[in-house]
Subunit: 131 residues, 2 copies
């Protein structure tokens, strides 16, 4: 499976999880089609709105370039949404991370499997959190 279709399948799984919990969610059209910032998935209920950058990886850590984080924050700020990262490590349930809780490297931001206990939220924790 290509990286692109793997990413799309991960996004569809996220969308399904939100609908299954009484939220509405949708995937964004391919980001190549626009020069405006856009998250991968947008989810909301009557109270909260969540803009998500989602990644599936076979590695034990995931890097996010500064620009990717900036675009997520920009979109969330204009839209009135909370910015979140959703990471699917192989064999582990989805982890949700506040961009502020990434570790900063020189030109990127990283979250590793070891960070999950202290700084990762499960899906259930995410949708119960009030920001």
């Amino acid at each position: 499976m290509s990286l692109k279709s793997k990413g799309s399948n991960a996004e569809r799984a996220l969308v399904k999880m939100f609908w299954g919990s009484g939220w509405a969610a949708m995937r964004a059209a391919g980001s190549g089609s626009t020069h405006f910032p856009s998250p991968d998935v947008l989810a909301a209920n009557k109270i909260r709105r969540i803009a998500i950058e989602s990644k599936a990886t076979k590695d034990t850590r995931k890097y996010f370039p500064d620009e990717e984080i900036k675009q997520l924050r920009d979109f969330a700020d204009y839209f009135g949404a909370e910015p979140w990262l959703a990471i699917k490590f192989d064999g582990i349930a989805w982890v949700f991370v506040n961009p502020e809780d990434l570790k900063k490297t020189k030109e990127a931001n990283v979250f590793s499997v070891d960070d999950i206990p202290l700084r990762g939220l499960s899906f259930e924790e995410l949708i119960q959190t009030t920001s």
Copy 2:
């Protein structure tokens, strides 16, 4: 140009209009990829959220099947957004219509060019309206 790419271009034009007015907006991924309801475009600022079904037509009237309207309302209800239709008639600026203001036919709902003065909003009116 295919009907599909014509629709995509219309959606991109809408997204650009919202960003140009200080709103955030995004296009949804192809609706064929999911069985969950999804609008064509979602736009929001810190106060309002708008779920849009958008259509471009060369005709002087546009029909919306009942099911399409129902899905738009369902999504908007779960998401906490206002449902709107955006119609681009040839040679006329975008018109925004509240689903309640469509005329009901047997199995569809119609809005014609003649309805614009009484029941259509311009883009500027839409983003100034408070629901």
